[in-house]
């Protein structure tokens, strides 16, 4: 019950932030020097009347605040407007492209968590020993290397040089096998998905892995020094159990927060990694929309990504509250 109340409270709290995102996005897209009308005409010969017509059709003749209200009214009904370039509803375009991006980001997180947590624990447990130094160096490389460059290097080594993995594209596991060339069964489809996903996943996940590993190590060191660990030792609890249970559980709590907050870097990284690997996700859609000055589409994507991030943070906050018994579901901060 308490948790439900907290969830509702957090969702309500997000409303002003989401409105704020829409205002910022709307202002940036509409105050800019780029003129959507001339864009739509694409340098063709045009008359004053044509311009008027287009302005009227897209509501560009109305004052800014009115346009904002109209836009928001549409948003509430799930109408993100029409893309100028693609001449299709923005919502449809995003719906098509969000799948690959989610697949990429989630698998990158899975990769990061699966590698970072054990490495962080080992580093903390063998503090200042070779294993610790190695994992700290790996983490340092991870936070210092651009994801898109990791992608390039991975392509050069594993796709170009060794030819083990494809260098671009993605096979969507939710499609039917017949839609992909050279594939006839589901196992094959999933296998191909994995093969395509592996390199971009590592490229995007490395930064997350490094960040999570650093936090994990610090938290485990702190947790292992806790009085409750001393107590468990004094009561004869085996070292393995202490590491896996007593020290571990306390140390994981901050990881939840980090995962949520890092989502914004992961989304930014997805834009770059999708570009490097030619994956048709939201990131590519965004880059193309920017290149084509498709301001309706840019607004839609920006709002959607902001929304995803805010929701991600809320979900992690709620999981934190669910996992940590100490959290008081207070009405104030």
């Amino acid at each position: 019950m308490k948790l439900l109340k907290y969830t509702i409270y957090r969702l309500l709290q997000a409303i002003p932030v989401l409105i704020g995102i829409s205002v910022i996005t709307f202002l940036l897209a509409n105050l800019g020097p780029g003129d959507p009308v001339s864009l739509m005409l694409q340098g063709q010969e045009h008359t004053e009347a044509q311009v008027r017509a287009i302005e009227q059709r897209y509501g560009l003749d109305k004052p800014l605040h009115e346009r904002y209200v109209t836009y928001m009214a549409g948003l509430l009904q799930g109408d993100f407007g029409r893309s100028i370039h693609y001449r299709r509803p923005v919502a449809d375009l995003m719906l098509e492209r969000i799948g690959p991006t989610l697949l990429l980001v989630l698998s990158a997180y899975a990769f990061a968590l699966v590698t970072a947590i054990p490495l962080g624990i080992i580093a903390a447990n063998k503090r200042n020993e070779p294993t610790d130094h190695v994992s700290r160096i790996v983490a340092l490389f991870g936070v210092s290397t651009p994801s898109f460059w990791i992608g390039i290097v991975l392509i050069l080594i594993f796709a170009v040089k060794l030819g083990w993995f494809p260098s671009s594209g993605l096979v969507y596991p939710w499609r039917s096998p017949d839609s992909v060339r050279g594939i006839s069964s589901y196992p094959e489809l999933y296998y191909e998905t994995l093969r395509h996903l592996l390199l971009p996943m590592i490229a995007l996940g490395t930064l997350q892995m490094a960040t999570i590993m650093r936090v994990e190590r610090t938290q485990m060191i702190e947790s292992l020094q806790g009085e409750y660990v001393k107590l468990a030792r004094a009561y004869g609890v085996p070292e393995r159990t202490i590491l896996r249970k007593h020290a571990f559980n306390v140390a994981q709590l901050p990881i939840i927060t980090i995962v949520g907050l890092n989502l914004s870097t992961a989304i930014g990284g997805a834009v770059l990694v999708e570009t490097v690997f030619n994956i048709n996700g939201m990131g590519r859609l965004f880059v193309d929309a920017i290149a084509q000055n498709d301001y309706q589409l840019v607004m839609g994507i920006t709002m959607m990504l902001g929304f995803l991030f805010v929701m991600g943070v809320i979900i992690t906050d709620i999981s934190y509250a669910y996992v940590d018994p100490r959290v008081t579901y207070g009405e104030s901060d």
Partner: protein, 343 residues
């Protein structure tokens, strides 16, 4: 004994200016810790090296065998002494080109010299025949200045907003912090691209400003919480009781006292800045060719990554080393200020 000495030293300083004693002792302690801490020391070495290269490239315009030919597109270069060095461009397929690092050539069909090919071009040349090593060296300038400036913008904006929010409290605090939270909620790369393209057009200065803006929220939060906690401290209470105005308290006590942790954070942010700007340039929204920016170089090289592998490697290594330096240094500073974890 050592304790006694440092007490005497700080005592003699405190005669000069009473207010800053706390801050200065903190600095002294920090410097001593940095000297001891291996991580911080290595970070300092790398950062110093990178800064040295950046400044060196600024001063020594005759850096490589190559000098400036056409620099009008590149603003930094306008500050520099210009040597008129003839550019030698042989017909395609015949001989090597000698082209300055800024030479705004379209990518040509020259076969770039492979890495380590000659003493003259240790990293070879790019497809336009420009010496790659020189371009990498000049890239240091761009990255370092871009990193420093945008971290500074974030720091400045964050300090202003955070201090104002913490100082006035109430509704102003609410509004400012909500605004800050909103900016924080849009993934930085997305926000910066939208800002750069729609407000300024693809241009490195707007990119720098954009990156700076996305850092305002974190700094604002740190400063605000410091202001709130320091406000409650005894000596601030005493100053307030003595009739010192809040504004002066904030400027003379609170901000100087929050500076060390914020600076540590700023150091770590420089690395992130360089990372983001590299990404921006890679997408084509940061530094524009022919600027020798690492991200932009990777963008160009990406087109030839199968045939000219090394062109895609060197700039990445440069980015990695630079960011690593700032990260190591920042980590070391952090440990120095909070020695709890890495004792």
């Amino acid at each position: 004994m050592a304790v006694g000495e440092s007490q005497i030293e700080s005592g003699s300083e405190s005669v000069a200016e009473d207010d800053d004693v706390e801050a200065r002792v903190g600095w002294r302690y920090t410097v001593a810790q940095v000297k001891r801490d291996t991580t911080a020391r290595w970070g300092l070495y790398i950062v110093s090296f990178v800064l040295f290269v950046a400044v060196y490239a600024l001063i020594d315009s005759n850096l490589s065998r190559l000098t400036f030919g056409h620099v009008s597109n590149y603003r930094f270069a306008q500050l520099l002494p210009i040597f008129d060095h003839p550019t030698h461009i042989p017909p395609p397929g015949e001989g090597r080109a000698h082209v300055p690092p800024y030479f705004p050539l379209a990518e040509q069909s020259w076969n770039p010299l492979p890495a380590g090919g000659t003493l003259e071009h240790p990293l070879g040349t790019d497809r336009a025949g420009r010496d790659y090593f020189t371009r990498i060296v000049y890239g240091t300038q761009v990255s370092v200045f871009v990193g420093l400036i945008s971290a500074f913008i974030g720091l400045l904006g964050g300090t202003l907003i955070g201090a104002t929010a913490g100082y006035y409290g109430g509704r102003i605090d609410d509004v400012l912090m909500r605004a800050v939270e909103t900016v924080y909620s849009i993934p930085p790369l997305i926000l910066i691209i939208v800002f750069t393209v729609f407000v300024g057009g693809a241009n490195i200065w707007y990119a720098v400003l954009g990156v700076g803006i996305t850092f305002v929220p974190v700094f604002a939060r740190i400063i605000r919480s410091r202001v709130l906690s320091i406000r409650e401290m005894d000596y601030i209470e005493a100053a307030r009781a003595a009739g010192v105005r809040d504004r002066n308290i904030i400027l003379r006590h609170v901000i100087p006292n929050s500076f060390a942790p914020v600076l540590v954070y700023a150091t770590l942010q420089i690395g992130v800045t360089i990372l983001i700007v590299a990404g921006l340039s890679f997408l084509g929204y940061g530094a524009q060719p022919p600027t020798p920016d690492w991200g932009a170089m990777l963008r160009t090289a990406h087109g030839y990554m199968h045939s000219n592998v090394w062109l895609s490697i060197w700039p990445g290594i440069a980015i990695m080393i630079t960011i690593m330096g700032f990260n190591l240094f920042g980590d070391g500073l952090q440990d120095a200020l909070d020695p709890r974890i890495n004792d």
